[in-house]
Symmetry: C2
Subunit: 204 residues, 2 copies
DNA sequence: ACTAATCTGTACCAATCGGTAAATAAATCG
DNA sequence: CGATTTATTTACCGATTGGTACAGATTAGT
């Protein structure tokens, strides 16, 4: 039986929880940015020392990529949830309201990690640039696919272009994140969402 | 007479042009971000050595502020120009088209320096945070004032809120900048602008 | 008990960071 | 001509950067 206390592998067991440590790293990267976060900052927040970090996560860059994964899987679930809404209008509404909730939640830093990192590594020469472009493109594709389904279901006017509409939604989303970093309140951002919704060629 | 070759002040004259040096610094900050730009990067691009930089510009932070001034005065003139358009619709159109032209111009880095820096220093504890918030707020105020004038001139529907509309315009503008950093083409961004224009409660 | 495997802690590395001291060079003023 | 003022050059500073060598500690397998 494998129901022993053993964790299956030889050697001294980890003295820290990898998930919790990664969460702390994510919060720090999110608040201070990749370049603004030092290894010392990280190890202090994660409660481990440097060799443990390197053994468990590789290096600063791979740790950041794992933080991006966690961000996608645990903080931007509102995108996937929104895609399951029955109408295009409600999809858009939920995506936009989702990002407002995300960036104005007092437990979170007041910006979107992907947008922030994309502007930090806007130079195509930066090693993380392509990675971030691809993550953003994946979101865009998922939303576009959903709008194409909407179009085929008669849920969008015939002249509406699903690809354009997906780009518009993501543009507003990024903009909301910048506005939040600039100190805009949740009420103000929700008002912006209402204005943006009027732009969408959707039936209601 | 003061028409001599003398430049009026004693001492050895500068061997470099301050304006040109500042322009190089701006381009570098814009492309690599504040934290991604080192003093060595700066002095190399500016063609001067370190003590000259400190004598002429103070330190890295004050140099950055001067670069921000130059950015405002020489790269975002489209905002002031747009405010002089006769109708609210054309004001909005020109602002949005202006930022698209700015961030997709092959001579420029593909993002907005203020949005980029605002996300870099989104933490209110960062020394440059407040500065950036204020610069952004100044733009918002100018646009809001213009829309209030439009409202009083009957150029906006009575239910349109000038403050909300100004925030919406700046939200889209920031979003366009992030999209550009993500690799969106000028055509795609102009399409987004057309979609955004439909959101605006404006008479046409 | 012994060996192999893995993690922890200390202590360190070369490189780079932002910033400056001090000597020299080039201009103006008297 | 000095004397004064400002800029340039070289060489350097302490601090911090991301990353690692190595010895000791803790586990599992035999």
């Amino acid at each position: 039986m494998e129901t022993k206390k053993s964790h299956g592998v030889q050697g001294r067991p980890r003295a820290f929880n990898v998930d919790i440590a990664l969460e702390q790293a994510l919060l720090l990267f999110w608040r201070k940015g990749y370049l603004g976060t030092s290894l010392t900052d990280l190890t202090e927040a994660m409660g481990i020392n440097r060799p443990s970090l390197y053994a468990a996560f590789g290096n600063k860059e791979t740790l950041f990529r794992k933080a991006l994964d966690r961000y996608r899987d645990q903080r931007t679930t509102y995108v996937r949830d929104a895609l399951e809404e029955p109408t295009a209008r409600r999809v858009i509404e939920r995506i936009m309201q989702g990002v407002v909730e995300l960036v104005t939640n007092p437990n979170n830093p007041s910006s979107c990690l992907v947008a922030q990192s994309l502007l930090t590594f806007a130079d195509p020469d930066d090693p993380l640039h392509q990675e971030l472009v691809e993550r953003r493109a994946a979101d865009e594709l998922a939303i576009r696919d959903r709008f194409e389904r909407a179009a085929s279901e008669g849920d969008l006017p015939p002249d509406a272009d699903p690809a354009d509409l997906a780009r518009f939604v993501l543009t507003v989303n990024s903009g909301l994140s910048v506005q939040a970093a600039g100190g805009a309140s949740r009420t103000e951002l929700l008002q912006v969402v209402q204005t943006a919704l009027q732009a969408c060629p959707i039936l209601d």
